[in-house]
Every structure is written in C-alpha cells, then in structure tokens.
C-alpha cells in the first residue's frame, strides 16, 4: 500500500513537472502571438490591449497557476486561429483518435499473443524463424511508410479500401471497417515487438523448474504452455503493452494526417503549422497525461500480476 502511495505521489510530481515544461515551452520561447493575430500593421495600443486581454502582461508564476487551475477545470483556453474554446474544438475529435488507438491496441494483442506462443512452442522451428526475420523487418518500417503501403496495396491495387473517412454516424461497422486499415499501419511494428518479447519470455519460463514438475505430473505440453507458462510469461508483456499506448498514440498522429482522419493528431499538426499554441499546448498536456497514467498503470499491473514484487 505504501508502495502504491509512493507511486501515486511520484505520478503527481511528474505531472506537475510536465505541465510546467509544457507551459514554459509555449510561453517563454515563442514569438509574441499578438503579431500573428493582429498582423503586421497593428499599432502599439492594439498590441497592448490584446496582451492584457490574453493575460500576457502578468508575472510568469501567476500565469502558470492560473493556466494550471483553468486546465484542471477543463478550461483549455481559446484557440488563436478559430477564436473558440479549445475544449470545444478538441471534443468532437477525441472519438476518432480513441477509436484508432483502441483498434490498433486490440490488433496488437489479438495478433501477437497466438503468434508469440506459436513461435516459442517450437523454438527454431519454421514458424519461429519466419517470425523472427519478418519481425526484425517489420520493426524497421516507419508507420507512415506502412500507411502509404496500406493505401497502395488495399486502395490502389486491390481496391478493397476507400480512402474517404467514414464517420461513426454513417454506421459503426463501416466506421470500424474503415479504421481497420490505418490501424494496421499503426499496429504492425508494435506487434512485431510484442511477439519477440512474448517469445523470449515464454522461452525463459519454459526452463523453470515448475514446468518440469508440471510435465512430470503428466500434464499435456499444450496445457502446460497455456495454463502454467503463459500466466508467468505475460507479466513483462502486460507491462510492455501498457507502455506501448503512448507510442501507439504518437504513431496515430502521423497516420491520422496520412489517411485524413479528423482526430487529435491531425488537429495537432495543423495547429503547429499555424502556430496556434493554446491548441498545441492542450493536446501535448493531454498526451503527457496519458503517458504518465499508462506508466502508472503498467507498474500497478506488474505488482498485481506478480505478488513477489508487491512487498518491495
């Protein structure tokens, strides 16, 4: 329990540091946003008035605390470009990003578990060798190149994929079917990594004494693999999976742009291009929160699945 509280405290400290970094990055370094809002021909008075309106004339620490309390209350500021609250701007885009990351995650789990087990089941067998070689290559392909490959193969050559985004209003299955293709581009490298990790983990467990005991008691090898070994072998894999969620998110930024999916990633890229800092800031802090929460979750799952670590 104390370990849990300690982790929670650490989580809060990290979050505070992250928000401070995000605030500093967008407040101290960039050029004055008034220029991009008012244009080149603004007068001194206009600039001063806008600075006061945006709160840019207050001391730094005051701006940080105001910004942070607002942020926690769900008030993310006002977009420079659209002159509307950032939370209203981002709200409708959350679904697409969540659906894409969720689907990618499911793909990773659903594909890597059976393949990893199969590869470990016959070490150095044909499947194992194929998986190792194919995995090494798959890990070397950037997501956006995979995305282009998916478009080329499924849209241009096979014609089974329409490149136009299908919103959930047009039917939930059509939406999921559409997202399956970009999700493929997000999931493949991580699937390869998960397979490799699971394979190594299972092979390590197979050398343990309890496996020999299980065999000697007359259990079928397949049963031992699924019921005895998998549970232990999953411990590092579950931690890894929780830690991959941020990477999946990062990959989906690029993939959203490539496929034209109206999600948070696409918003981020266009806001960076237009120097719309409040929007960028909000998305970055949300992303950082997801990352920190995932690493907390990974730690928690690790302790839950392996009681041997719990005491420490």
């Amino acid at each position: 329990m104390t370990a849990f509280c300690k982790r929670l405290a650490l989580l809060l400290v990290t979050m505070l540091l992250v928000t401070a970094l995000a605030f500093a990055a967008f407040t101290v370094i960039p050029a004055d946003p008034t220029a991009s809002i008012l244009g080149m021909n603004a007068t001194e008075e206009q600039i001063a008035a806008l600075r006061a309106k945006l709160g840019l004339d207050l001391p730094l620490w005051q701006r940080y605390t105001t910004w942070l309390t607002d942020f926690v209350r769900g008030n993310f500021g006002t977009s420079y470009r659209f002159s509307m609250p950032v939370e209203d701007l981002l709200g409708p885009r959350v679904e697409a990003t969540l659906a894409l990351t969720g689907l990618s995650f499911l793909l990773i789990v659903a594909v890597s578990l059976p393949i990893g087990l199969l590869a470990a089941h016959r070490e150095n067998g044909l499947i194992d060798r194929l998986v190792t070689v194919f995995g090494q290559v798959a890990m070397s392909i950037p997501n956006f190149i995979l995305g282009i490959g998916v478009i080329w193969l499924f849209a241009l050559i096979l014609g089974v994929f329409q490149q136009k985004y299908v919103p959930p209003e047009d039917g939930i299955w059509a939406h999921i079917r559409y997202l399956l293709f970009p999700a493929l581009a997000v999931a493949l490298p991580k699937t390869a990594m998960t397979v490799r990790l699971l394979r190594g983990s299972v092979l390590g467990e197979l050398r343990q004494d309890y496996v020999r005991t299980a065999y000697s008691k007359g259990n079928a090898p397949r049963m031992v693999l699924v019921f005895h070994v998998l549970r232990n072998a999953m411990i590092p894999v579950v931690t890894f999976l929780a830690m991959t969620i941020p990477d999946i998110m990062a990959a989906s930024i690029v993939i959203e742009q490539l496929f034209g999916i109206p999600g948070l990633g696409q918003m981020l890229i266009s806001s960076i291009g237009n120097r719309d800092y409040p929007v960028v800031q909000a998305i970055v802090v949300i992303a950082a929160f997801v990352v920190v929460a995932c690493s907390f979750l990974a730690d928690l799952l690790y302790r839950l699945m392996d009681p041997r670590i719990g005491g420490r």
């Binding site: 990055a25 890990m139 282009i148 690029v254």
Partner: protein, 268 residues
C-alpha cells in the same frame, strides 16, 4: 557461428553499404538531383535511370542518394549532440549519485514522459522548421533516454572491484569515470546508440513527411516521400525506393544493436 555474431556481421555489412551510399550522396550523384527533363517524366526504372524518374523528370536514383545523405547527416549530428551530452550527464549522475542525480533523473523522467516524436514536433512548432532545428530538437530529446541508460550501467560498474581498487589507489574521480569505467560500458553505449540512430532516422522521416521537418532546400528521404506519395499511382517505384532506403538504414542499425545485445547476453 553464434546467433549474435550473425546479426552483428549482417548488420555491420548492411550499415556499411548504406552509409557509403549516403556519404557518396552528400558529394556526388550520377545526375543533378534537381535537373528537370520534360522527356523523362515518369520514366520507369531502366539502365540510364536506375530508379526511374519522377513527375518533373528528375532522376530518382540521384534524388534518393541526396535525400539519404541529408537524412544520414541529420542522424549523425543528433547522435553527436545528444550522445555526448547524455553520456557526460549519465556518467556523472551514475558515478556521483546523491541529490543531484535524483533531481536530474526526475527531469529526465518528465521529458521522457512525452512520446519523443510529439515533443520534437512541439519544439519545431516553437523554433520553426529547418535542418538545424530538427537536429537540435532530436538531439535534446535523445539526451534523457541515453543518460538514463548510461547512468544505470555506471551505477552497476561503480560497485565492481576494479573501480574500488582504482579509488583506493587514489585515482582522480573524473579519470575513473572516463578512462576506467567508460571502456567497460561500451557494449551498452553502442547498443543505445543504434537505438538512438533508428529513432533519429524514423523521427526525422516522419516529421519531414508531415512538413514540419526539413525545408525544401535540403530535402531528406521523409520530405521526398511526401512528394512521391502524390503520384503513387503513376510512379509507385519512387515511393518504393525511398521507403526501401529508410527501411534498410533502420534495419542495419537494428541488427547491429540486436547482435550486441545477444553477445552481452552470452557473456553474462
């Protein structure tokens, strides 16, 4: 032959070929990469134009060489910048320990909390695009992860007998860190560098592809890929050759890292 060695040799050979290809591309290409030719538009790969031509009749082989050169020079600069800083910070933190170490590591955790490409995008949002800013952003981002890796290894080595002996013999702390311990951490550092190299290549390619990386003056592979995607139907080989170059670069470094780790595993 051991499996680790096999990875290592293959990786080294592949990387050597790719680096040579890129280095040559920095100085010499068979055609002028930006020379236009109206007769050669969308020419398929042939003996005169090995990789064919793009929508403006530019020789793709020359363009791939040029782009690979830019990509490689960015990746090397990132490693030099981030690797040196990360090495010094990690080595000192690991060897000295204490409050300063705790503070620096906390800061590293906070930076590592962002997915690296996201943070790089943010830095570029603030500094604006360009080759120099890409190097700066990726270099800074490489520091925390590399520092943490180096620190862990120094922490382990610090307790070994040879370090204790050196300390008893009155060797200066800095000399112990950089002359005694550093060579022993080489495998860990090298494997960290291969990971850093791959991240740099992948991040640079993704950013330039999104139009937030390099400027059109020095096109990299990622920048060219965003061009090539426009005529995926007419000249799919352009995308193919660009993508293949990126993948081979990353695969080579990945194999080297794999080989080093397999070797370390054997030794333990």
């Amino acid at each position: 032959m051991k499996k680790g060695n096999w990875y290592l040799y293959l990786g080294c050979a592949l990387t050597a070929v790719m680096v040579l290809f890129c280095l040559v591309g920095c100085f010499w290409t068979p055609y002028d990469p930006s020379a236009l030719s109206s007769t050669d538009r969308y020419a398929a790969p042939s003996l005169t134009h090995l990789f064919g031509c793009d929508s403006l009749g530019r020789d793709i082989f020359s363009r791939v060489m040029q782009g690979a050169g830019t990509t490689l020079s960015i990746a090397f600069s990132v490693l030099l910048l981030g690797g040196t800083a990360g090495l010094v910070i990690g080595a000192l933190c690991g060897y000295v320990g204490g409050a300063a170490d705790a503070l620096v590591m906390r800061l590293c955790d906070a930076i590592a909390a962002f997915p690296s490409i996201l943070l790089a995008l943010v830095i570029l949002a603030v500094t604006g695009p360009g080759k120099r800013n890409v190097i700066l952003a990726l270099g800074v981002l490489f520091i925390p992860s590399f520092a943490r890796l180096v620190r862990g290894e120094f922490l382990r080595q610090r307790e070994l007998d040879y370090v204790k002996a050196a300390r008893l013999a009155g060797v200066h702390g800095l000399r112990i860190v950089f002359v005694h311990i550093l060579p022993n951490t080489l495998p860990v550092i090298l494997s960290g560098i291969t990971i850093g190299f791959n991240n740099a290549v992948l991040a640079e390619a993704s950013m330039s592809y999104l139009g937030i990386g390099v400027t059109p003056q020095d096109p990299s592979l990622g920048y060219m890929l965003s061009e090539a995607q426009g005529f995926l139907m007419r000249a799919p080989w352009y995308t193919g050759f660009l993508a293949g170059t990126v993948i081979l670069l990353v695969l080579g470094a990945g194999l080297i890292g794999e080989g080093i780790r397999a070797r370390m595993g054997d030794g333990a």
